[in-house]
């Protein structure tokens, strides 16, 4: 059996490990546009912060490819898939035959068209190790940095560089930080924490145009900067599948076995759209845990096993300057909210199950909440008052607890 994997990040690694859990023999080839050993993408901000290094940020040990009998082709890009002939063509003209193919191409930063953007001399995105290294090379204690986007990537970048530069300003069209995962109360708390570290926010406005090192905002105020980081969002890399004739919605369309609509071609990770079980909507859930697990399921299925990836939910664990937040699911439903200083908790229920939650500050044991969402546990079967108080196994029945703590999991 010949397996080809396009991509070399969380979904690709999950796929290699999934294949090898079933098939020790088949030939696996990994094609990676990035020339690096597989690394943890979220750690690029920690690298700038000095909390990790190039060695520690490797997602798997140096021996990963040889341990798993993988032929690794770093620095090579796939340019075309021929689903009829079952081959992948690379940028150097090489042609790789496959029996089963995984597309794990991830996403790329979206750069919006803004007048004068091309004239900005020091401009970066923040999505890869090379991005982080390029940004780092531009930083001095005198540098003024302007970040476009107060989402996860923009704020992680701000945290990573705040102590190393003269100033960091963040501009976002949304009226609050992390609008996709936080409500207004939580966003205000997080913003305050980040502001304590010198980061300034310019929310509810965007950049109208750039004149060299000056950004003119939509409220006509001006921001001077030396380095611009564009972090307004990412778009799934769907072109290879699309050109080959596979179905694409917001991301590559896949079923619960991670198969695309093309025969023997699978897809996983940030390039796909998945079904969010808390809302029933198909969306791109750009998350590392999901990418790994979807890749793993794809690998098992490619190797002839059976594994479904059918319990996707949005979820995030993230912290800024030591202030942690964990969120999961969706927020449409009945709310239960408690706030004590910097500790904030919101639980959302509907249809007799937990739909979503948001924890800020104290996040201990949050996974007990996540499991209630993923398993769609009927709240009638647990002591919900105890669940509201804190995540605890005491809220479950004795029988369920015996299953959890007294048997093999």
């Amino acid at each position: 059996m010949k397996y080809v994997i396009i991509g070399n990040s969380a979904a690709a690694v999950g796929c290699v490990e999934g294949i090898r859990s079933v098939d020790r023999e088949g030939e696996i080839t990994v094609v990676s546009r990035e020339g690096h050993h597989t690394y943890s993408r979220p750690l690029i901000s920690y690298l700038l912060l000095g909390k990790t290094d190039r060695e520690k940020m490797k997602y798997r040990p140096d021996s990963f490819y040889s341990d798993n009998g993988v032929r690794f082709l770093p620095g090579r890009a796939a340019v075309e898939i021929d689903p009829a002939g079952k081959t992948v063509t690379l940028d150097d003209g090489a042609c790789l035959p496959y029996d089963k193919l995984l597309v794990a191409t991830g996403s790329h930063p979206f750069v919006p068209p803004i007048e004068g953007l091309d004239g900005v001399e020091n401009r970066c995105t923040f999505s890869s190790l090379d991005d982080a290294l390029a940004l780092e090379a531009l930083l001095t204690p005198q540098t003024r940095v302007l970040i476009l986007g107060a989402g996860l990537i923009g704020l992680k970048c701000a945290e990573g560089i705040a102590a190393r530069v003269a100033s960091v300003s963040v501009v976002d069209m949304a009226g609050r930080v992390l609008p996709s995962i936080l409500d207004e109360t939580a966003a205000a708390l997080v913003q305050k924490q980040i502001e304590k570290h010198g980061v300034r926010f310019f929310l509810s406005r965007s950049v109208e145009r750039f004149c060299g090192g000056t950004a003119v905002l939509t409220d006509k105020t001006q921001q001077d900067f030396d380095v611009l980081v564009v972090a307004v969002g990412v778009r799934p890399n769907v072109e290879l599948v699309q050109k080959a004739g596979g179905a694409v919605g917001r991301g590559v369309t896949v079923d619960e076995r991670c198969a695309t609509t093309l025969p023997d071609i699978y897809a996983a990770g940030d390039c796909t759209e998945s079904l969010d079980i808390t809302t029933g909507e198909r969306k791109v859930l750009a998350l590392l845990p999901g990418a790994y697990m979807q890749g793993e399921a794809a690998g098992v299925n490619m190797a002839g096993g059976e594994k479904l990836y059918d319990r996707a939910i949005p979820m995030n664990a993230i912290g800024f300057f030591g202030y942690h937040m964990i969120t999961a699911g969706s927020y449409d439903g009945e709310e239960y909210v408690v706030q004590k200083g910097a500790d904030y908790k919101k639980l959302v229920t509907g249809d007799g199950v937990l739909k979503g939650y948001l924890l800020l500050g104290s996040v201990e044991r949050a996974g007990i909440y996540t499991a209630l969402i993923r398993n769609r546990t009927p709240l009638a079967s647990v002591d919900f008052d105890l669940i509201k108080e804190k995540p605890q196994l005491m809220a479950f029945s004795k029988t369920e607890r015996l299953r959890q703590l007294g048997s093999r999991r």
Binding site: V363, Q392, L405
Partner: protein, 141 residues
């Protein structure tokens, strides 16, 4: 593989498992010196309410959600034991988001700590040998 199992019927709620755990992971050889006047951060925790109490620690799952979710690769299964490489962990707490048992926790320095079945120590885990009522056992199931 042997794992830790809990029999809540026998749990006295004495918290000795927490102390033995903290001692076993303190790197010290004197229990008094290791624990006196110190807030302990054990990797096993008692939940208690009214007459019910039980200990919770890592289940060493065969499909470990924490390992699959770990964004750095710091969590891994080594011969079935879920281990944490604290040097690699950056304390993002994605494993806390993922663990259905609430069995991983931040250590005092921010990175994750968890039960590793006292593999370094060898033999039965300290919480098991220290439990006066066999409410925590180490067996093949």
């Amino acid at each position: 593989m042997k794992r830790i199992y809990v029999n809540e019927k026998w749990c006295l709620g004495c918290h000795l498992c927490e102390y033995y755990c903290a001692f076993a992971n303190s790197g010290k050889d004197d229990m008094v010196k290791a624990l006196k006047n110190i807030t302990i951060h054990p990797r096993i925790r008692i939940e208690e309410k009214n007459a019910v109490s039980f200990a919770v620690s890592c289940r060493h799952c065969t499909e470990p959600l924490c390992v699959k979710s770990c964004i750095t690769g710091a969590l891994k299964a080594v011969d079935g034991v879920i281990e944490i490489d604290q040097g690699k962990c950056v304390g993002c707490y994605t494993c806390i988001l993922a663990c259905p048992y609430g069995a991983v926790s931040p250590s005092p320095d921010g990175v994750i700590q968890k039960c590793e079945l006292c593999v370094q120590r060898g033999g039965s885990p300290a919480c098991v040998t220290g439990c006066p009522n066999q409410a925590i056992v180490f067996e093949e199931r």
